[in-house]
Subunit: 257 residues, 2 copies
């Protein structure tokens, strides 16, 4: 059992929790909690760390069979955990590496493109909602928050394991490629002439979602085939980015069912 | 200018930031940021605190005319602020006191009932989305997170000023009253036979939204006139509470427009 927070494995976990650079260098990320452990594709699971009290539960110990795991004293586990009330299980998982073409599988792809999204909770929630809505893949500009940030991972509720995604330095170049493939680009935009429910998303479609406070850059919005407006009552000027994305994705799903 | 964090006004602001009990006793709450300041109904504005550097901006000083305000040194302001990069303006606002009947104004009320909602960001986002979707009022069970929690307030983006709401110790009693007024209750529920877009929300309607991890209690779900299901692809078991509420509210809005 690891009982010291100066143990080299513990020090490495703290680095992986805090530093995107270190996660990328080692090509791994961390997930916490029993649900995230159960859903992880086994071939990606590199190592599991459990707290002593988690391990002393017989049911839990059984679940760890065939995993490479290490028991950690409760206080040390708490220091490593990213949550206030840790469940007692933390996994090191190998990062995903999709191709750009993985985002648009199937006959009528439904995609998202996120530009400079900054809030970890928003990004995670968008992944979770996207899986629920049947989105085929998510494109992210390089200046979006890191998907492997522990707060993002937690909000995905496991969708990070299943939703193809791709970070790009050239968002507009990637969007032009989608257009050449026949994917229509819809920009959620206050200047949209049509409301979002007046367009047809049955054909290959992608929604462009911008930064929480600035929205889409003009250059990216200019690429869109169509501006769509989410109508808002009262004095509301915009919706939360994850909410706007959800309203659009579920309208597409509604039309497709 | 206040330069000491032991100043009695500063000590009181810290209490108001942290303690719901103190907010309720003084019948006030705090808001931060220039947008929240500009949108506040003037008759509710009790006092404004600005940081020294905020105040030294001439445009800002002009906006403070006719307000009772106090200048606070930058370091003391930072200690009082709830955000990492404070905008430099914080207001003490008088709390709202709606009647239960305020939630259902108009010919075809569209309401929300929230049971034991715990996440501050979710609650604030729900208020913001609700105003955008044209919801008439929000009912909250007494065990929901405090609306006047600074994190909730921030996520409402000002909708807290305009959306009627009512906390109740007797959620089920209140829901029965709505039913007697002819309001149909729809529970977002995994066991719904119909998907959410197969029902008609043009008539007086209310959506019941449950706790983030447990969902609705059985007793409350049992009251619903109809269970509705939000279809989910992949391995998604549920949506984020604010996202689920948004999908339902915007479907109602779509049908009503």
């Amino acid at each position: 059992m690891i009982t010291s927070s100066t143990n080299s494995q513990i020090k490495n976990l703290l680095q992986l929790k805090k530093k995107a650079k270190e996660r990328n260098r080692q090509d791994v990320f961390l997930v916490e909690g029993i649900k995230m452990f159960r859903e992880v594709p086994r071939e990606r699971l590199q190592k599991v760390y459990v707290s002593n009290s988690f391990y002393n539960n017989t049911d839990h110990a059984r679940e760890l069979e065939n995993c490479e795991y290490e028991v950690v004293s409760d206080p040390v586990f708490e220091a490593v955990s990213d949550t206030k009330t840790p469940q007692g299980i933390l996994c090191v998982i190998r990062q995903f590496h999709y191709d750009f073409s993985d985002l648009t599988r199937g006959e009528a792809p439904l995609c998202l493109a996120l530009e400079n999204l900054q809030d970890p909770g928003n990004l995670g929630t968008i992944f979770r909602t996207a899986e629920g809505a049947g989105v085929t893949g998510i494109l992210l500009s390089a200046n979006c928050v890191d998907l492997y940030n522990p707060k993002v991972i937690r909000s995905t509720m496991g969708s990070v394991y299943r939703m193809p995604f791709y970070y790009t330095d050239d968002l507009r170049g990637a969007l032009r490629q989608w257009q050449q493939q026949g994917i229509s680009l819809y920009a959620a935009h206050l200047q949209g002439k049509n409301t979002y429910d007046q367009e047809n998303y049955g054909k290959p479609s992608a929604f462009l979602i911008g930064n929480e406070s600035q929205g889409l850059t003009k250059e990216t919005a200019d690429l869109a085939d169509c501006y769509i407006r989410i109508p808002m009552s009262g004095q509301v000027e915009s919706l939360n980015a994850a909410v706007a994305a959800a309203v659009l994705m579920y309208e597409a799903r509604r039309q497709r069912s």
